[in-house]
């Protein structure tokens, strides 16, 4: 019989002890089974041959332990499965409860809710047009800021940035994404809005006073707060999402493609323009839509600076409102079924819009992931 080098006991005992040790290790933390413990002690005392009865009881113990293990195994499987199903139920629950909550408003206004501009708690007459308009306008302004800058940052990080700076700058951009939205809100209210009111908006008003279309876009007194300010803040918030997703997507381009383009004499810009962007177009659009989804649903940053006025104004510097800001501002003060349920219906509309945008974004991003994997 060969022994493992440097091993003092006979091999049989070593094996048995090792087996028992493993069983003990398996059982000691989970089960308080005195049987196994005793067996382990006895096994140390006794020699290789166990008496018949002991062998039998060991067999029974073994079966018990295995049975428990099997039971625990199945339980754990079911536990994880039910947690996974819970996520699906959660989404279902959100949709069902929002529909349920908005039933009174749906009954009262029907589809007219979507087209009506009025918002009058006194006469209980509500319409979603103004908040929807505000949500869409602020998000569009945000994307106008975030998409070009975000793409620029992504190109910078993947193509131009000196390697030692790449990681810190990437991290800083991601930190910008992690700052809670209420911080953007308070900063927008106390720093950005006064700045815009004092310097930017008067300049915009006087510059475009005589231009036909732009004069209506920048009409009215400079309040500081309003649709434009909210859109800018949103743009800053969405920027890191667009930048970091585009960067990840740009990194999926096989280096050999870029090298081939450089090899035939393309400049860096031409490589980006004719190789990187066409290759990643789907993913970039996905990233942009993901950012749009964020912008549409963003609440606190907007609530601070939008001004909360329920009217559709042609001017971008006038106060307005968005779906999320309306809910945040009015929900706790809403009295009466119809008022509350109108706000919940606004929430439902917001959820449906963002759901569609985010679902499209995910489908597009899944396509580029498959491409990268293939």
């Amino acid at each position: 019989m060969r022994r493992p080098p440097g091993f003092p006991f006979p091999l049989g005992e070593w094996r048995r002890a090792a087996g028992l040790r493993m069983e003990m290790a398996l059982t000691e933390q989970t089960f308080e089974d005195p049987g196994v413990d005793n067996l382990a002690k006895e096994a140390h005392v006794s020699d290789i041959a166990l008496s018949g009865e002991r062998a039998k009881s060991a067999e029974i113990d073994r079966r018990q332990v295995l049975g428990k293990l099997g039971l625990f195994d199945r339980l754990f499987h079911k536990l994880t499965l039910s947690a996974a199903v819970l996520v699906l139920l959660l989404l279902g629950g959100v949709i069902v409860s929002l529909i349920q909550g908005s039933l009174p408003a749906i009954r009262a206004f029907g589809f007219g809710f979507l087209a009506s501009q009025s918002w009058n708690p006194v006469t209980d007459n509500f319409g979603a047009m103004a908040p929807i308009y505000g949500t869409v306008t602020t998000s569009l302004i945000a994307m106008l800021v975030a998409v070009p800058v975000g793409l620029g940052v992504a190109v910078f990080l993947t193509e131009l940035c000196p390697p030692p700076l790449r990681r810190p700058i990437g991290m800083a951009i991601e930190l910008l994404a992690g700052i809670p939205s209420i911080i953007y809100g308070i900063w927008g209210l106390f720093v950005l809005a006064p700045f815009l009111q004092q310097y930017v908006q008067p300049a915009l008003i006087s510059t475009f006073a005589d231009t036909p279309v732009l004069s209506t876009l920048f009409a009215g007194p400079p309040y500081g707060i309003g649709v434009l300010t909210a859109g800018l803040i949103l743009g800053v918030m969405v920027l890191p999402f667009v930048a970091s997703i585009s960067r990840d997507v740009f990194e999926t381009v096989p280096p050999v493609l870029k090298e081939a383009a450089s090899g035939i004499g393309c400049t860096t810009w031409e490589v980006v323009r004719h190789v990187v962007i066409p290759y990643t177009r789907v993913g970039v659009i996905g990233g942009v839509m993901l950012g749009l989804g964020r912008a549409l649903g963003e609440t606190m940053a907007v609530t601070f600076v939008i001004g909360n006025a329920h009217k559709i104004s042609g001017s971008l510097i006038a106060p307005g409102t968005t779906i999320s800001a309306t809910i945040a501002n009015e929900f706790t003060e809403a009295v009466g079924d119809v008022y509350t349920s109108s706000l919940i219906e606004l929430g439902l509309i917001l959820f449906v819009i963002t759901f569609v945008v985010l679902a499209c974004a995910r489908l597009l991003l899944m396509r580029i992931e498959q491409k990268a994997g293939a």
Partner: protein
């Protein structure tokens, strides 16, 4: 020669614009952090940590709001993180190739970026409307619902990174599947799992919208989970929009505290996950 010149110019212009974009992006971070530190540090005093939120126009601190935030975040993470982890375990270990997993991943990604105010409305309908009053526990539930998708996503990703040979080796020793997962896969992915929880805590500690109409606010010291409870973000919201200078100062200080917490947590999470990938 002129073609060459125009291509060169286009290249230089594009590079300059990209540099400008990066500087523009970073300057926001600097401006926001700068304003926060400048305005927030002015109000930083022991009172902030020892006094309750003041009545209008008075002086005070943020103690009850900090305690409330802490309590609700802890409960939210304690409820949400295990659920997210179990669901992520199912997706990575048991149902890796099943259709259910694909569906859940899709739904989870949507929940991850769904507007948090809608989650607030959901919890309002689910709990507040039925109980008849605002309560800290419903705020915790809202936060837990926000924790689940974050933890689920990182758990799944991290477990998928654990090499299959480790699981096979453990299975060959006769370990039951649940033990393979708990003793081998979880251990191998430990720092990744911690990262997920840290990210979730960071996300939750700054959330305002879902708390506005679940836990509401409370001017006084309260540890009752069945009653409204103050939280830092909601207090910041209320105080910042008030006309009182003292309140606005407290809002800035609170904002500084929240930001520091969130940044420390997310930097810790990133350092942890980088250690893992560099190994």
């Amino acid at each position: 020669m002129s073609l060459y010149g125009s291509r060169r110019r286009a290249n230089i212009l594009a590079a300059a614009l990209c540099w400008a974009a990066a500087i523009f992006g970073l300057s926001w971070l600097v401006m926001i952090l700068g304003a926060l530190v400048y305005e927030g540090a002015k109000g930083l005093s022991p009172d902030v940590f020892t006094q309750m939120t003041p009545p209008p126009g008075g002086a005070g601190g943020l103690l009850n709001a900090m305690a409330g935030s802490l309590i609700m975040s802890v409960i939210g993470v304690a409820v949400g993180a295990p659920l997210g982890m179990l669901a992520g375990t199912y997706m990575a270990e048991y149902g890796r190739y099943s259709r259910l997993t694909v569906a859940i991943r899709f739904i989870n990604d949507i929940l991850l970026s769904a507007p948090s105010i809608v989650i607030g409305l959901f919890v309002y309908e689910l709990m507040v409307a039925r109980m008849g009053h605002f309560s800290a526990i419903s705020g915790s539930v809202a936060l837990a619902i926000l924790v689940i998708p974050v933890v689920l996503r990182t758990t799944e990703d991290m477990l998928l990174l654990v090499p299959g040979s480790l699981r096979e080796a453990a299975t060959a020793l006769g370990l039951p599947r649940s033990y393979v997962i708990q003793r081998v896969a979880y251990r191998a992915a430990k720092s990744g799992l911690v990262t997920g929880v840290l990210l979730a805590v960071a996300r939750v500690s700054g959330e305002t919208a879902p708390l506005l109409f679940t836990s509401l606010n409370n001017q006084f010291w309260s540890l009752d989970l069945n009653a409204p409870m103050a939280s830092l973000p909601v207090v910041i919201f209320q105080f910042a929009l008030s006309p009182y200078k003292d309140w606005q100062q407290l809002a800035w200080t609170g904002a500084l505290l929240v930001t520091v917490t969130v940044l420390v947590l997310s930097i810790a999470a990133r350092t942890l996950s980088r250690q893992r990938t560099s190994k």
